[in-house]
C-alpha cells in the first residue's frame, strides 16, 4: 500500500480496489468457503465426502434436483415467451419510461404479499372461480397444481426478464432495422436476422436473472404449490431449520452454486470476450 501512494491517482485506484477486495473477501469469498467447509464435514466436524455421496446416491434428492431444474427451466421459458414481445412492444411506445415503471412496480411489493394475493385469486371461492361460476362453468381446482405454481413463479420473475431484454432492444440503432427494410427484408426476416441476434445479450442476461433464482424458490412451492412441487430450496430450508443438519444443507447449497455457475458459463456472451 505504501508504494501506491507515490502517485495519487494510482493510490486512489488501489484504495478502491483494496476496499472492494476486502468487501469481496468478507462477504463473498469467506461465506462461500465456509459453506464449502461446512459441507465437507460430518456431525462431529470430521472431514468427509459422505454428504456428497449421500446426495448423489439418494433417489429423492436427485429427483428434487431434477424437479428444481425442470421447473426453473419451465419458468424461464414462460417468462421469455411473454417478456420478449412485451419488451419489444415497450420500446415502440411513446412514454417508454412510464410503462417500464409499471412493469417494475410489482417488484417493489413484498414477495409474500404478492403470493398471498394469489391465494385470494385462485382459491375455491376466489375471484377466478367466482367468475367461472358466474358465467355458468364449474369451479376448478386451481391452487396446489403445477399450473398455479408456474403462473405465480413466472409472474414474480417476469420483470427480471423484461428489463434486460428491453435494455438490449433499446440499444439497437433504429437505422439498422430501417436498413434491413431498405434492403428488402420483410418484418419476419428483420426480426430473425437483425433484432433477435442483436438482443441476445439481453435475452441471456434475462435467462440468468430468472433461471438462477428459480432453482431455489421455496415459499411459493409451499403456499401455492402446497408442497406438491418440491425444489432444492425447500430441502435447504428444512435442513437449516428443522433437522439442524447444516452440513447437508450446505452440501445442497454448494451443488446449487455449481449448477448456477454452469448456467452462467452456458449463457455467457463469448463473442465480446465476456460482458461481465
Amino acid at each position: 500500500m505504501a508504494l501506491s501512494f507515490k502517485k495519487q491517482k494510482q493510490g486512489f485506484t488501489s484504495a478502491y480496489m483494496g476496499i472492494y477486495g476486502l468487501w469481496l473477501l468478507a462477504f463473498v469469498v469467506l461465506p462461500l468457503l465456509l459453506l464449502l467447509v461446512e459441507s465437507l464435514q460430518d456431525q462431529n466436524h470430521h472431514f468427509t465426502l459422505a454428504n456428497y455421496q449421500a446426495f448423489f446416491t439418494s433417489g429423492s434428492y436427485l429427483a428434487m434436483t431434477f424437479n428444481s431444474i425442470w421447473y426453473a427451466f419451465l419458468i424461464t421459458v414462460i417468462t421469455l415467451v411473454f417478456a420478449y414481445p412485451t419488451a419489444y412492444f415497450l420500446t415502440t411506445l411513446k412514454n417508454k419510461q412510464f410503462w417500464l415503471l409499471l412493469v417494475i412496480l410489482p417488484t417493489w411489493i413484498n414477495l409474500l404479499l404478492k403470493t398471498y394475493a394469489f391465494i385470494g385469486l385462485l382459491g375455491q371461492g376466489g375471484l377466478v372461480n367466482s367468475t367461472l361460476t358466474a358465467v355458468g362453468l364449474h369451479p376448478m381446482q386451481l391452487l396446489f397444481t403445477d399450473w398455479s405454481f408456474l403462473l405465480v413463479a413466472a409472474y414474480v420473475e417476469l420483470p427480471f426478464m423484461i428489463l434486460p431484454i428491453f435494455n438490449a432492444l433499446s440499444d439497437i440503432d433504429p437505422l439498422l432495422t430501417a436498413a434491413s427494410r431498405d434492403l428488402g427484408a420483410n418484418s419476419w426476416q428483420t426480426l430473425k436476422k437483425v433484432i433477435w441476434p442483436l438482443s441476445m445479450p439481453g435475452v441471456k442476461a434475462g435467462i440468468q436473472a430468472v433461471f438462477i433464482p428459480s432453482l431455489s424458490l421455496f415459499m411459493i412451492t409451499r403456499l401455492i404449490g402446497g408442497n406438491r412441487v418440491i425444489t432444492l430450496g425447500t430441502a435447504i430450508e428444512e435442513h437449516f431449520l428443522v433437522t439442524q443438519n447444516w452440513a447437508f444443507g450446505s452440501t445442497i447449497g454448494v451443488i446449487l452454486i455449481v449448477a448456477m455457475v454452469i448456467t452462467m458459463l452456458l449463457t455467457q456472451d463469448k463473442q465480446k470476450g465476456g460482458r461481465s
Binding site: 456431525q43 402446497g226 431449520l241
Partner: protein, 360 residues
Amino acid sequence: MKKFFLSILAILLVVVGLVAGKAVFDNSRKDEVTGEKVLNFYNWGDYIDPDLLTKFTKETGYKVNYQTFDSNEAMYTKIKQGGTNYDLTVPSDYMVDKMAQEGLLAPLDKSKITGMNNIDSRFLNQTFDPHNKYSVPYFWGTLGILYNKKKVSADQIDTWAKLWSPQFKKQIMLVDSARDILGMTLISQGKSVNDQNVADLAAAKGKLDTLMPNVKAIVADELKIYMAQGEASIGVTYSGEAAQAMSQNSDLAYLVPKDGSNEWFDNLVIPKNAKHKEAAYALINFLNKPENAKQNAEYVGYATANKGAYALLPADEKSDPAFYPSAATLDRLQVYQTFNQEWTQRYNDAFLEFKISRPS
C-alpha cells in the same frame, strides 16, 4: 455526470438522515427497555391478551417489551446465537428439554413462584422437564382433525385410519411437519409417536405413501386460512390453529381421533442470560392467578393448564371435547420425546420422500 453525483449525494444524505433518526429513536426507546422496571418477553405472535400486559404493568410497575417468534426452532436459534437478553420465553415441550440440555435455561427459584397449586397436576413433572426445574405450564393442545361439517361427519373421521378411505380423494390438507404426520401414521398402526425402530418407521412411511392420493396439499400456518376459505374438507392440524379457523368459519369443527394423538405443552421459561429475572417471576406469578389465566385462555383460544382458570370458564367451553378432551381420550394422548439429531433426520427424510412421491 455531475447530475449523477448529485443524486448519489442526495441518496447518501437521506440514508445518513434515516440512520441518525433511527439512532435517536432507538435511544429514546432504550430508556424504556433498559430501565430497571422492565420485562423482555419473547413469545409466539398473539399468544397473550394485550390487556393482561397492561394490567400487569399497572399492578407491578414492570413495562413489558413484547417480541415475537413463529417457530420453536427460530426462537432456539436466536437465543442460542447469544446477544439477546430475553427474560421470559415460551418453548414447547421438546424444546424445553433441548434448551435445558444445552444449558440455555436458568433453573427456576421455586421460592419466588406462587400459584403453582393452581396448575393442573397432570401438566407438572413431565418427562421433558422432571420436577419442573425450568418450566411452568402455559397452554396446551393436541394434534387433531379440523373438518368441514357440511362435507364430512365426525364419525367418518373418528380414527386416524379413516383418513385413508378412498372417499376423501384430494380432500385432505396436512400440516407440514414430519414429526406430526409420521406420528399420526404411527398411531394409526398402533405404534408410539416416539417410535425409534427403523422397521416401524419404514412401515409407517409405506403406509403414509398410500395416503398421497387423498392429500390435497401440505402446508404450514396458512392451513387455517385455506380451511376457513373452504379450500379442503379435512385438515390435520393443531387445536389452537383449528380454534382460529373455526372462529372464522362456523362450518368447521375439530376432533381428536379415538385412537389417540399427540399432546403438546407450551411453557414459560427463563433463559440463562435473562437480566430481569424478578420481572420474569412477577409475570409467571401474575399468569398463574386463575382470573388472569382465564382471561388469557379466552383471548388466545388454546386450552389452559391452569385448573383454577378452567373452573372459571363458561360451561360450554369447559365441556367442548375438542379442546378439553374426555378422560378416555386424554389417556391415549402421547407427548413427544426429544429425538437426537439422527432420528430427527430419519423422520424428516422419510417425510421428504413422502412429499416427493406424487400420485400421477
